[in-house]
Amino acid sequence: MKAVLLLLGVLALPAQAAWQWDEPLTVNTAIGAAIFPHLESANRKGIAVSAGTVGVVWEDNRDGTPQCYLAVKPAAAATFRPEVRLSRGECYEPVLQALDGGRFVVAWEENGRVRGQVWPAGAAHDLSTRAAAQVTLASHGRALYAAWAEQAGRFRHIVVTRLDVQGEALRVDTPQPVEVGVPVDEQGWPALAISGDGDITVAWEDRRHRHTVPLVSHSRDHGRTFSAPARLADTRSGSVDGLGAGTGAMRPTLAARGARGVVAVWLDKRDFLSGYDVYAAFDAGERRFGRNLKVQDSFGDNIAQWHATVVADGEGRLVVLWDDARDGTADIWLTEWDGADFAEDFSFPGGAGPGAQSDPIASLDPAGALHVVWLDRGDAAGTRVRYARAVRR
C-alpha cells in the first residue's frame, strides 16, 4: 500500500509543483466534538475575494441550531477575523459574491426563505417572497444575479432574479421562473454563471424524467426570458429492461471562462458500479454545451467522488476540485484544464493526509491566485474550516 501511495505521490508531483501553497489557516473559532460546520451550498459558492479580502461563509450548530457565519481575512491580515453570525432563525447553505472594496453580497436560506444582505454595512432582508431554498449568486462587472429553488405548487422550480446594490442596500427584482408553468417534478440546486458577454447560464437538478438530470438554460436578455432547458449530461433517460428511468447525476456547478465561455462540472453515476464520477462540459459561447468529459484521472476511477466544484476566470484558467478516498481517507483533489484535457489529479499540503479533508470550495482572484476552503476532520476535537492560498510558480 505504501508503495502505491508513494507512486501516486510521485505521479502527482508535476501538477502540484505548478502551484506554491501558503501555510493553511483555520477559519472557524468555535470547534468542538459536537459542532458541525458545513460548506454545502448551491454552486458551492461559499468563498469570494474582494480587493484582496477573502470572505468565507458556512453553517454550523454552535448555538444549538444551524446558523450561518461569515469570516473575512483582510488583504493585509495574516489570519481571519473572528466570524460574525448572519442569521437568527435556522439557516442553511449560505453563499457569497464579491463586490468592490472588500464588500460582499451574502445570501442564505433562513426559516424556509431566501435572505440576503450587503456585507459589512447592509441589513439582512428577505429576497424570496415564497418558500425557497438553495440560493446561489453570480456576477459579471456590475451585473449581479441570484437563483434559487422556489415552491411552485407541489414541487419547487428554479427562479432567477437580478440584484441591484445601491450603496449598502440590496434590491431584488421580481424573480423570473426559468420555465413558464408549474413544474411536474422536483427542481433544485441551481448554479449560475454570467459570461463575459453578459449572457446568463443557469443549471440545476431536475427530476421531470423520473431520475435526476442536470439541465441548463440560457438568457441573452438579462434574465427576462430563458431558452428551453437542455441536458448537460450526454446520457439518455430511459429504463433498462423495463427497470428504472436512467442513471443519476447531481449537483451541477458552473463557472464563466474566457471571453464568452462557461464550464459545467457535476457528479455523474453513469458508471453505476464506481460511485459518482466528476464530469465536465464546455460552452465556448454558442450557448450549447458539448460532449461530456470525465474529469478525475484513472487513479480515481474505482472510487466515489464527492463535492465537485469548478472555478475559472476570464483568462481561461480552470480548476476543478472535489474529494475522494483513493488513499484510504477523504482528501481534496484538484485538476487543471490544459487546453485539451484535464491534467493529472493533485492534492496539496493540508488538503490531504490523516483524517478526512473534504467539501472543497474555491475562488480564483483577479491575479490568478487560487483560494481553497475545506473541512478538516483530522481528530476527535472537532471539525475545522481550513483555508489555503496558492499562486502559480
Partner: protein, 163 residues
C-alpha cells in the same frame, strides 16, 4: 391555527416532493422519524438507501420486496426508513449533526444503489449491504441482526455457519 395548517401543508408538500422510490405498500418513513420511532419502540432500523429512477432498486422492489412474507417480516420487526441518494432533504444523525440525505451517502461511502443499512434501536450502524439481494438474503440478514449475532460474528462467519 390557519398559519399552522398552512405550515403543515407546506411541510407536507416539501416532504412529498423529495421522497422517491421506496417499494410500494411498505410503511417507509423519513430518517429522523425512523430513528425516533426505533428509539421509542426498541426495534432495529432497516434503512433503504435508494436513488430516484434507479434500475437495480426497481429490480429489488419487484423481485424481492414484492414477497408478502418478507413484507410482513420486515414491517413487523423493523422501523423502515427510506433515504433518497440525491435529495437535499435534511436528516439529523445520532451525533446531532444535520446533513442532507445526499450527504448521508458520502458518510456511508455509498458506492451504488440500492444500499441497505441496519441500525440498532439506538442508531448504531450494524452493517450495510449494497446491491440487489434476494428474499432469502434478507431473511438471513434478519436472523443475523435480530438474533444479535453481529455482536460476536461477522456476517460472512454467520452465513458460512448456516446450514
Amino acid at each position: 391555527m390557519r398559519s399552522v395548517r398552512w405550515l403543515l401543508a407546506v411541510c407536507g408538500l416539501w416532504v412529498g416532493a423529495v421522497l422517491a422510490d421506496p417499494p410500494p405498500g411498505y410503511d417507509f418513513v423519513g430518517f429522523d422519524a425512523g430513528l425516533a420511532a426505533a428509539k421509542a419502540s426498541g426495534k432495529p432500523v432497516f434503512l433503504y438507501f435508494g436513488r430516484y429512477g434507479c434500475a437495480w432498486c426497481d429490480h429489488t422492489n419487484k423481485k424481492t420486496f414484492s414477497d408478502p412474507e418478507l413484507k410482513k417480516l420486515y414491517s413487523t420487526h423493523y422501523v423502515l426508513v427510506y433515504v433518497d441518494a440525491e435529495s437535499g432533504r435534511r436528516v439529523t444523525l445520532p451525533s446531532g449533526e444535520r446533513i442532507t440525505e445526499a450527504e448521508l451517502g458520502t458518510r456511508l461511502n455509498a458506492f451504488a444503489t440500492p444500499l441497505f443499512v441496519y441500525f440498532t434501536p439506538k442508531g448504531e450502524k450494524i452493517m450495510q449491504i449494497p446491491g440487489f439481494k434476494t428474499v432469502q438474503d434478507f431473511r438471513d440478514y434478519d436472523r443475523y441482526v435480530r438474533g444479535g449475532h453481529y455482536r460476536d460474528k461477522t456476517l460472512l462467519e454467520f452465513l458460512g455457519g448456516k446450514s
